[in-house]
């Protein structure tokens, strides 16, 4: 029997006598972090109590899919036994950094919500799925989750209202995205050699450069905090442009025909049992839909059809106007 797919956007509400939490989960991995005493551990405690004693716990949990809490005891067996659930893991669980956990989470038909401040380098998670909790000042009871990195144009570390005309452009790696942006920005464009090397590349640059860093937002979650902290502490003039992925830009540009709904409501299409991340999903869609067309796509080597003046213009329309090309 095949594995059931896990798609969708799920709102979770957890209520006790003193607190109420609201959280929406729409991808396979969500990370919760932030300041101490914002209620992260209390949320886990309430969910654990509900899972153990149900309504007898006194905790009210509203969710369209089952919720489980997994700690360090028998985590592998438990995770493998769950299907189409949302699994919460507290920061006290040391297995989250293991390769065994990474293997289990990839292409798994559950969603995972992981409380942890450390970057989880072995996992691919989105910049936009890193949340903190905010307490309502009126009541001190309602804990609403907010996205730590949430900008309309996926453009970070840029003063509102300003723009950037980069003297240097850094991409994560030397794949198709680099080839395209090198066409767009010419010799200003350099590759970092992998997402974990992005900060090293920033550190090599002269402080006077105006830098544009282009990363795949759908999978850069483990590195974004380090990048932002570095930029903040070095007062570097660097904007971070983090669209979901280069493939997402090409899909939006319309080289192949895909439904607008799929791009805007990807949570209803990107089955976490089949795809490691939304970047993985967009790549798969682009490869499939461009087969047999002049825009046949490969992640490793960019088809020259994407480098024509007309094609470049199409993609440029998807890039935020604050980035001066």
């Amino acid at each position: 029997m095949g594995v059931e797919q896990m798609v969708g956007k799920y709102s979770i509400e957890v209520t006790s006598n003193y607190t109420r939490y609201f959280l929406t989960v729409e991808r396979n991995i969500t990370v919760i972090q932030g300041r101490s005493a914002t209620g992260k551990s209390e949320l886990i405690r309430l969910l654990t109590s509900y899972e153990t004693d149900g309504i007898s716990s006194g905790v009210i949990v509203r969710s369209d899919v089952p919720i489980h809490v997994v700690d360090s005891r028998q985590w592998e067996i438990l995770i493998q036994s769950y299907s189409k659930c949302i699994i919460f893991i507290d920061e006290t669980a040391d297995f989250v950094k293991s390769e065994d956990f990474a293997r289990l989470v990839q292409k798994n038909n559950n969603y995972f919500v992981i409380v942890n401040r450390d970057p989880l380098k072995q996992l691919s998670y989105s910049i936009e799925e890193i949340y903190g909790f905010r307490v309502s000042h009126e009541s001190q009871k309602y804990h609403g989750a907010y996205r730590v990195y949430n900008e309309l144009y996926h453009l970070y570390h840029l003063t509102p209202g300003s723009s950037i005309a980069p003297t240097k452009v850094i991409t994560e790696d030397t794949n198709s995205g680099f080839t395209f942006f090198q066409k767009l920005f010419n010799e200003k464009c350099i590759a970092a050699g992998g997402k974990s090397r992005v900060v090293d590349k920033l550190d090599e640059l002269d402080s006077g450069e105006d830098v544009l860093l282009i990363v795949d937002g759908a999978a850069f979650g483990s590195e974004i905090a380090r990048v932002i902290r570095y930029l903040y502490n070095h007062q570097m003039n660097c904007a971070v442009y983090a669209p979901e992925s280069f493939e997402y830009l090409l899909l939006r540009a319309g080289f192949v025909s895909v439904s607008k709904k799929m791009l805007e409501e990807t949570y209803n299409y990107a089955d976490s049992a089949r795809y490691i991340s939304w970047e993985d999903f967009y790549t798969s869609v682009l490869i499939r839909e461009s087969q047999g067309t002049v825009y046949r796509y490969s992640k490793q080597r960019l088809n020259s059809a994407y480098l024509s003046d007309a094609s470049v213009t199409k993609v440029k329309r998807e890039i935020p106007p604050q980035i001066k090309v």
Partner: protein, 149 residues
Amino acid sequence: MLSIYFGEPQTETYIYNPDAFFNNRHMADWLTEPLSVEMIRDVDKSEVVGPNLIQSPFLGPIPPERLSGGVKTLIMIDHDGEHLFNASACGDNCAKWLLVIGDEKDRTVRLGYIMDFGRDKFDIRIENTNKIVHSMTEMTEEIVRKHLL
């Protein structure tokens, strides 16, 4: 002085889960000490009523076990110099208290992320490289250039 080990330490004294360690090892009278009272007030926005009772504006009257993981970790660091505590259990709002503790005692903690110690000058020894840094700029440079995280 405060010393920080960045990364994954390989020592038997490393306490990955300071929350659990606090629950089973703290002494009741630690909570009524002036520094503990201040930290609990600042981080948890709560008032210590007695050694086993704290009044929280979010959770009502609670025992010490229901304090935040961050403040529990701070209290353990303040009282226990024998273990290496995982300060990733602490958010940025605990950073100033780590500096306060480090002003009075020699303590080494572990961090897996770049905690924000603020804009004021400080003295922190990076355990991995034995370098003393005085600002976040120096700290992030040391972490990046020596690939500590």
